[in-house]
Amino acid sequence: MSASIHDTARAGHGGGEDHAHHPSGIMRWVMTTNHKDIGTMYLCFSFAMFLVGGLMAFIIRTELFQPGLQFVAPDFFNQMTTLHGLIMVFGAIMPAFVGFANWQIPMMIGAPDMAFPRMNNWSFWLLPPAALLLVISLFVPGGGPAAGWTMYVPLATQMGPGMDFSIFAVHILGMSSIMGSINIITTILNLRAPGMTMMKLPMFCWTWLITAYLLLAVMPVLAGAVTMILTDRHFGTSFFNAAGGGDPVLYQHIFWFFGHPEVYIIAIPAFGVISQVIPAFSRKPLFGYTAMVYATASIAILSFIVWAHHMYTAGMPVTGQVYFMYATMLIAVPTGVKVFNWVATMWKGSLTFETPMLFAVGFLFMFTMGGFSGLVLSMAAVDVQVHDTYYVVAHFHYVMVAGALFSAFAGVYFWLPKWTGRMYDETLGKWHFWLSMVFFNMTFFVQHFLGLAGMPRRVPDYALQFADFNMISSIGSMGFGVSQVLLPYIVYKAVRHGAKAPQRPWDGADTLEWTHLPAPAPYHSFETPPVVK
């Protein structure tokens, strides 16, 4: 994957004279078909949603600060946990990585833009209405959806119109994801620069290629599942209604057939970012590139055949449980390969720890913890004890926050100099990392203990023996939330007052955007494709 430094100047200024050709003001953003503009919008949107979802988490943790009902009613509490989940998964984390894909994939493979720029614009502009639907659902009679982000029936059938808002939001988000995926697949398969064979593809592009296929496979499944809820609710069908011959557990099977790959839809692009950052700051090529590609593909394929491990207590034949347990345990193998490869990449490197690397190492450490608690959960018998407890809450926040979110932070700091042409404040970046790391663990590590000791999830109130850890967790979450305000400030400060970034601020980074494009990357890059040797 050693791209040659070649043709830098041409590719760099190629689009210079086109700068003035796009509309200015708000219409630039509404009409844009430029992958960089769209990437920026995705990232900003996702951060805004991250704040909205974070506000909901703040309400949840405030109520859980002490036993008893203090601030919100149980109904509203359930709406908060539901919308927090939906918004963070579909509004914050997924769009964040699509944002990275938009910015980076064309630059990393030497393409001028995404394959379908107009569809790209539409993929993005579907998101704000969907987010709006989710948020306004809170203000319709009966309030927002309160059946959990998994929207299990028959509870989801009992909800007011807020549920229908969520169902339509999920439809729209699904359309956006499918179009985004088609775009990413086509771009990677068709627009690679001459000489960039598949096995020279930067790891980030590989992970997105695999993720895009996952999205294509499962988003329609989710859309189908929620549509069946919709018709059960309003059109007299009984897909999930036992009284009409349906089966509520069928919904769970369909949902998790989407839901488990969804976990990897979030995690795999995060692996991709980490696979770019760790080699760059180790000044050493990624160890076991081929194995990494195969491991990622294996994880993706396995993710389709393990879904019912989310349903060990729903009741299924014991042979089914045994099968799903073995298949789930198997995922530890390719995941382990990835972790070992990252550690081997660092081994005997020449390491420096700028903010992106800090977040990457933090990711590695804590994602592995999330992986291990996942292994505990894979054991069906143990899962019977900890299923639907705070242990699970801790587990998936290690994977989603310390995993995906930290990797997104690593990506933002890593590529910010290329995007803006400015360096961010390294000291503040390090503060952001350390505060996030400490408060994250304060929030979520203790939740493992809560779950083991028997605290169920999605409860607004709890027994007295859980009080200490909940208080620690709540304080941690406030700290974590407040620390995140640093990110927009750091980005603002970099854009306004940052030192000018050199073309290649990280001497270990060797993909095309660093070797061929100046900083900031021009509005149109690689109109003439570079040649990769």
Partner: protein, 374 residues
């Protein structure tokens, strides 16, 4: 044997944190009170042991690298990036560890799912937001009651101090005898609930329209507390499960007392007024009939017949009593004769004959039901 090894391993782990070991329940699973819970506990400790070892090994390597291979220490980057042997080793070794882990995991799972030959069978029904218990078989057969949160609203709102078992106390706990195999049949009446008692190692979703089974055999006397584990709406956090495990003698005494109470409450010779029967019948209907025949008596077209305007309800009462007592072959209509008392059946039949559009005006007496029991 494996038990003891795992337990001693857990002691070793906890010994590293003096002061924590005393409060182990706070930091770990609750003290097991059944063989399944014990197995799960041990399996978890075993897993934790293995995980800690692997974790320390992997991150010892990483942190060594973090400290030793820094550029600030002048470390030059090596340029190796492939080694097939190493790749194979770290694929195959974890695979072998997993296969070894699969053995105890499968054993525990098979034990957990072996619901054969129970001494006592109890049906657990999840309602929004309480639990219904029906003793279907074994000593105590026929006992039936509902169990709801006993913590006062004032404690929840914080106007009075919270009691020791805040949110984990109920009005009528489930009572079972020590050392007997209890089979639980879980079902839901409205949405999915999940019946969970951590110390007994049992958690089973209660799904409307379906029955799922699980079991436990308590090996300690005492009161064991759990909660609904599946989000079931507004008061999901307020429907605890309390199981009291008592000696065989005490259990027999309890059963006798329940039977006496039931008899007292339902004197089969009493003559009821229509209004009393209607009030009682509405409750019985809600608990037993509504899931299929619906609150409005319309049923579900094509699956569950309507009662409103039905000939089965407006026709001769002996036919309806027989239908309720014995069920209807080949349909979902269950035989309620074993589940409900004469008074309950009389009440619910009266209710259906005088609700919605049905206006027979008849009051069915328990004696009429008893006369038709075979």
């Amino acid at each position: 044997m494996r038990h003891r090894m795992a337990t001693s391993a857990s002691c070793v782990l906890l010994a590293g944190f003096p002061g924590l070991a005393s409060a182990a329940d706070r930091w770990n699973m609750q003290a097991p009170a059944s063989i399944v819970a014990q197995d799960i506990y041990d399996l978890h400790m075993l897993m934790m042991g293995i995980i800690v070892v692997i974790f320390v090994a992997v991150f010892a390597v990483m942190f060594y690298s973090v400290f030793a291979h820094r550029r600030s220490k002048g470390h030059q980057a090596a340029q190796f990036h492939e080694n097939t042997t190493v790749e194979l080793v770290w694929t195959i070794v974890p695979l072998i560890i997993l296969i070894l882990m699969a053995w105890p995991a499968t054993r525990t799972l098979l034990l957990l799912r072996d619901t054969s030959n129970p001494d006592i069978t109890i049906k657990v029904t999840g309602y929004q937001w309480k639990w219904g218990y029906d003793y279907l078989g074994g000593e105590g057969e026929g006992i039936s009651f509902v169990s709801a949160l006993a913590t006062s609203r004032d404690q929840i709102q914080g106007t009075v101090p919270k009691g020791e078992h805040y949110l984990l106390e109920v009005d009528n706990p489930l009572v079972v005898p020590l050392g007997k195999k209890i089979r639980i049949l879980a079902t839901g009446s409205d949405v999915i609930h999940s019946w969970w008692v951590p110390a007994l190692g049992i958690k089973q979703d209660a799904i409307p329209g379906f029955v799922r089974d699980t079991w436990f055999r308590a090996d300690k006397e005492g009161t064991f507390r759990g909660q609904c584990a599946e989000l079931c709406g507004k008061d999901h956090g307020f429907m605890p499960v309390v199981v009291e495990v008592v000696s065989a003698e005490k259990y027999s005494a309890w059963v006798g007392e329940q039977k006496k109470m039931a008899a007292r409450a339902d004197d089969p010779n009493k003559t009821w007024t229509l209004a009393d029967l209607m009030a009682r019948g509405a409750k019985v209907y809600a608990a037993n009939c509504m899931a299929c025949h619906q609150a409005n008596g319309q049923g579900v077209r094509g699956t569950f017949p309507a009662l409103d305007g039905s000939k089965a309800v407006s026709g001769p009462k002996v036919d309806q009593i027989s239908m309720v007592l014995n069920g209807k072959q080949g349909t979902a209509m269950a035989a309620f004769g074993k589940q409900l008392s004469d008074s309950e059946i009389a009440a619910v039949i009266t209710y259906t004959r005088n609700s919605w559009g049905n206006k027979t005006g008849e009051a069915i007496q328990p004696a009429e039901v008893r006369a038709q029991r075979k």
